[in-house]
Amino acid sequence: MAPRLDSLHGKTVYLVDTGFHGSDVLLHQIQAWFSANLPDTTTVFKRKAGPYAEDDPALWKEIKSQGNAVIMAVGH
């Protein structure tokens, strides 16, 4: 597993929607939770392109260069 961050303060967390029904609603609520509870964490919502079991290399590249952590919603 990847090393964990010391804290989420000032970090960018990617919220990744794998495309299952309802994932977008859940992740938007999580976004709202962060702005209320951890306002100095930046959240970026992304819908993964391509079918759910396939990789989205462009998104992974973006996260690697701009993100510090990922929350991924799987299932509906």
Partner: protein, 436 residues
């Protein structure tokens, strides 16, 4: 990649998520659970999930998410290396009755009686192929799991259990070599089909006449069943909640849809020849999808002289997902009538069906699979979905994205002029002769 991540999974997938993490090499993955389902809930309801506890641990969900990303790793979490998976000893010894029970209780069966795979019976099965007992036949997985590999001997054991005669064995090996499992892990309850072509249909006395798809012949019944036993025992599939997740399940998974094409009564080229094989070759072609429905019920079915295939098919396909294709199983009477109407090749009929089976963009977008599968492809720029998603609601698009999504086979006993149609996609065709 080195980026910490916190997977959020609904509670219904708990066993799956934990097992899957372990199978994929991360047994301590920090998975956070939400109540199930999210789909169909209002934003307020989902908000309450976010602010409430993880239903598995009972701890506040968002605290857990933050911890998953920030609490330092333990020694266990950092482990690398390989762990081998145990499948038990090579042989079991007991009375016949106890062994039946033992196989059933261990999940080696479809919960129906089997022929016990004694060494003698397995040896007799293996004499029907020139391939060596230890030769690796292929690899199979029940979905997004690491595939298991298996030998000729292991395939033979499942073939014996299913009730196959030794002369059926090359077909079972051909299926196994494809690596395609008949039990696929999805929350959909998928179905699978195979089409058998070539002289082996008559040599083994396959039924392609009256009741072709039903329980009326040994090769149809046991080869279909063997596919499911292979998928359980060799592909590690079919464990509900773990490697099988179809909510409602599918009755077709017991024996699968086995279709020996009625080549002599067909006015058209057999399926295997369409796929590039010679007529005298023996071939099994595999399909996957959702199921099979009867065609004689739909609109356009009652016109005697001139079957209205356009309205009949558009009606039938209105419930089909365009994610899978259409496999039309035509009784020879249906095929003969279509030929009289000018469809002298399968390709001509397919071309007509592809162009005339349509829907509005509005209806298309209201379909579950469009949102789930096609929209992300459109986002990636894949065609034709990228174009479809730019069209106005009243534009008309094909029900199936490509003409190649259609396949036609001929089977049935000519007691009536009805077709059946499967919402099934072509997967692969494999030579049976190679496994003789």
């Amino acid at each position: 990649m080195g980026i910490p991540s916190a997977p959020l999974v609904t509670k219904a997938f708990k066993d799956l998520a934990i097992l899957n993490a372990a199978k994929r090499g991360m047994p301590h993955e920090r998975i956070c659970f939400t109540p199930h389902p999210i789909w169909g809930k209002t934003p307020e309801e989902v908000r309450a999930y976010v602010e409430g506890p993880d239903p598995v641990t009972g701890k506040p969900l968002m605290k857990e998410v933050v911890d998953a990303l920030t609490v330092p790793l333990s020694e266990e979490d950092k482990k690398s290396g390989t762990v081998s998976v145990s499948t038990g000893p090579a042989t079991f010894t007991d009375t016949a009755d106890n062994l039946q029970e033992f196989y059933l209780n261990n999940g080696y069966t479809d919960f129906l009686p089997i022929i016990l795979p004694t060494e003698e019976r397995v040896d007799r099965m293996m004499r029907a192929t020139s391939h060596k007992p230890d030769e690796v036949v292929g690899k199979m997985a029940a979905g997004a799991y690491p595939p298991w590999s298996y030998s000729v001997r292991q395939v033979a054991a499942s073939a014996v259990m299913a009730g196959c005669r030794p002369e059926y064995f090359p077909i079972v090996l051909a299926i196994a070599s494809s690596g395609m499992a008949s039990l696929f892990s999805s929350t959909n309850s998928f179905a699978f089909a195979m089409v058998i072509n070539g002289p082996i249909r008559d040599k083994l006395e396959f039924n392609y006449g009256i009741g072709a798809l039903g329980p009326f012949a040994q090769p149809n019944a046991t080869i279909g069943r063997a596919w499911t036993l292979l998928s359980k025992n060799l592909g590690n599939g079919g464990i509900p909640g773990d490697t099988y997740l179809g909510s409602l399940g599918n009755n077709l998974n017991y024996n699968n849809v086995v279709i020996a094409e009625h080549e002599d009564a067909s006015p058209w080229v057999p399926l295997h020849v369409q796929k590039g094989f010679k007529r005298e070759e023996n071939v099994v072609s595999l399909f996957r999808g959702l199921g099979v429905v009867p065609g004689q019920v739909a609109r356009g079915s009652s016109a005697n002289e001139n079957v209205q295939f356009d309205s009949q098919m558009s009606d039938l396909f209105s419930t089909f997902t365009g994610f899978f294709g259409a496999l039309i199983i035509a009784d020879p009477l249906v095929a003969a009538r279509l030929k009289e109407q000018g469809y002298d090749t399968k390709e001509k009929l397919i071309d007509w069906l592809y162009k005339n089976t349509t829907q509005t963009v509005k209806d298309y977008k209201s379909r579950n699979y469009a949102y789930l599968f096609d929209y992300p492809r459109a986002l990636r720029g894949d065609e034709p979905w990228a174009t479809w998603y730019k069209l106005p609601d009243d534009a008309v698009v094909p029900h199936f994205p490509h003409a190649s999504d259609f396949n036609i086979v001929v089977a049935g006993g000519q007691t009536n002029a009805y077709p059946q149609a499967g919402n099934l996609s072509y997967g692969v065709s494999v030579s049976i002769d190679k496994w003789m």
